[in-house]
């Protein structure tokens, strides 16, 4: 055997794998322990939701789009509702907008605590995983008391929200926040001082500010690299103009910074929820929506827990949309994994992947990736259709 030629060894991971709970297939080319190449194969959770929206009416789509992602279902519904309301020229009442913000921030707390647990689990720190998921139950209880469901709360309606706040609920939320705030201080302390965890996070997967801007990162991943990008501040929607958000950033760009940014965002979320509860505007919960919407198109952007969520909605005068396009934050962030993984240790790769808080069910859109040797010709609809038929005939 000729040992002078460097061996190319590929480590395949997925789609069923212990690291993440979602299907995604990765191939890492390694030289010893060093990763020299990375590629991602997505699409295991691609269900074709965008196409399915075209066959359902505006109200049915609300429930379908909520199920793009179970973790951030409320922001998907909010983005969709805000877009459709803009198309129909309906302004939801201020109380509804404030409750949307309230649920969105509660969801951010649940999502960030969930991420903290999963990321700690990737680092082999299962104690932190158990602690953070135990405390996450507090916010799940609040969401359940508020909306009746732990996940997929469907608090939104076209033109408003379904649920109102009572004084008992308000007390419950205040009490829950108090507990969570106390616990979050401890988590900040743990992730910045625990020596074992720091060895897995400090200086690992460093994304510079230039890289972050070049790769188009969004959300906490970008903010950990010093990019001040937050839709709640850049283009405030719902009740965010009345409840301004302070953007949390860090400059280091490594995994530790991402931990710290997400935990500091929790404090910001607690502050926002308290502000909303104190200044909750009185009034109606829902404005009347027309059944059909005249032909128009619009764009709506919201800040999901993972970053910017983008909806393009086009109506055609019927009670069904003509086209809905969704761009989720994970798709923007996932490119950074392939870049950052190259040159790092194989053992750090799960941490780097978890660092962007990937969500494949959000992410699996139709994406065509051209590798260097592919023919860059455009396909016509007929060719694409034929390819699809041939592919599934096999």
């Amino acid at each position: 055997m000729d040992t002078t030629v460097p061996q190319r060894f590929v480590v395949p991971i997925g789609p069923q794998h212990p690291a993440l709970k979602e299907p995604g297939h990765f191939e890492f080319t390694v030289d010893g322990e060093q990763v020299t190449g990375a590629s991602v194969r997505l699409g295991y959770a691609h269900r074709g939701i965008e196409k399915a929206t075209e066959g359902r009416n505006w109200v049915q789509n609300l429930y379908l789009l909520e199920r793009i992602c179970g973790i951030c279902s409320h922001v998907h519904a909010t983005a969709y509702c805000l877009g459709v309301e803009k198309l129909a020229g309906v302004t939801p009442p201020p109380r509804a907008q404030a409750i949307r913000v309230l649920v969105a921030e509660l969801e951010r707390i649940h999502s960030h605590l969930l991420w903290l647990g999963v990321a700690a689990h990737e680092a082999g720190f299962d104690t932190l995983f158990m602690y953070s998921w135990r405390d996450r139950e507090t916010v799940m209880d609040i969401l359940e008391a508020l909306t009746g469901n732990r996940v997929n709360y469907s608090a939104n309606l076209l033109g408003g929200v379904k649920f109102d706040l009572t004084s008992e609920l308000t007390d419950k939320i205040y009490k829950g926040l108090e507990l969570l705030e106390e616990r979050t201080y401890q988590y900040v302390d743990v992730v910045t001082s625990d020596a074992t965890l720091l060895q897995r996070t400090r200086g690992v997967g460093v994304t510079t500010r230039e890289q972050a801007e070049q790769l188009g990162l969004v959300g906490p991943t970008a903010r950990a690299s010093g990019v001040e990008r937050d839709i709640r501040v850049e283009a405030p929607y719902a009740a965010y103009p009345d409840f301004p958000v302070k953007v949390v950033t860090a400059t280091a760009g490594d995994l530790e910074a991402r931990f710290v940014v997400r935990l500091q965002e929790l404090f910001e979320a607690y502050r926002l929820i308290r502000a909303v509860l104190e200044k909750l505007p009185p009034g109606e919960l829902q404005a009347r929506m027309p059944r059909k919407i005249k032909p128009a198109e619009t764009v709506s952007r919201v800040e999901a827990p993972r970053g910017e969520l983008f909806y393009f909605i086009k109506s055609n005068g019927t009670d069904q949309p003509e086209r809905i396009k969704v761009r989720t934050p994970t798709l923007c962030n996932l490119a950074s994994v392939c870049v950052l993984a190259v040159g790092s240790q194989l053992a750090d790769v799960p941490m780097i992947l978890a660092g962007v808080d990937p969500c494949f069910s959000c992410n699996d859109r139709m994406v065509t990736v051209y590798s260097g040797d592919t023919d860059h010709t455009q396909w016509t609809w007929k060719q694409l259709r034929q390819y699809g038929i041939d592919y599934y005939r096999r």
Partner: protein, 157 residues
């Protein structure tokens, strides 16, 4: 009591007391997956029943599936199922796993789990509460312990 009978009893006893679980997402929205993770965490604590989440299907007894089966995930689901040693049990969690749920009719969705592999326990809900998932697991274990009794209860009820 024959020798074989004793061996079988010991095997069942061991199986019921430590079911190792492998989880596969066949195209779910994550809602069920986070609830499955939640049953492993302190409040629900499925480890009381000996349940352990295992990474490799080759070491697992129970396959927990979530979500409708997408065309991409179908082959993988079959492969994961075939890699599991006998006897194996499948739990379908969530409305989508049972019937396709809201994703019925989507072009990339084949359908529900039992169109691809046989399912032992169905847990409905969107997503099911962690208590419901625990209940499903415990029912499966009860069935393993005493199949005849459980079947009579089902027929009667």
């Amino acid at each position: 009591m024959t020798w074989q009978h004793v061996v079988d009893d010991i095997r069942t006893w061991a199986r019921v007391n430590s079911p190792w679980v492998v989880h596969f997402n066949t195209g779910s929205c994550n809602g069920c997956d986070i609830e499955i993770l939640a049953i492993l965490t302190p409040r629900y604590d499925a480890e009381r029943f000996g349940v352990k989440l295992e990474g490799s299907p080759r070491h697992a007894d129970v396959l927990i599936c979530t979500g409708p089966v997408t065309r991409q995930a179908r082959d993988r689901l079959l492969r994961v199922y075939e890699q599991m040693p006998e006897p194996k049990f499948v739990i379908a969690v969530g409305s989508c796993a049972i019937s396709g749920g809201v994703f019925q009719g989507c072009y990339n969705v084949i359908g529900h789990i039992d169109e691809v592999i046989p399912v032992d326990v169905y847990i409905p809900g969107c997503p099911p509460r962690p208590e419901a998932i625990l209940d499903g697991v415990v029912k499966l274990l009860g069935h393993l312990k005493n199949p005849v009794l459980e079947e009579t209860i089902q027929e009667a009820g």
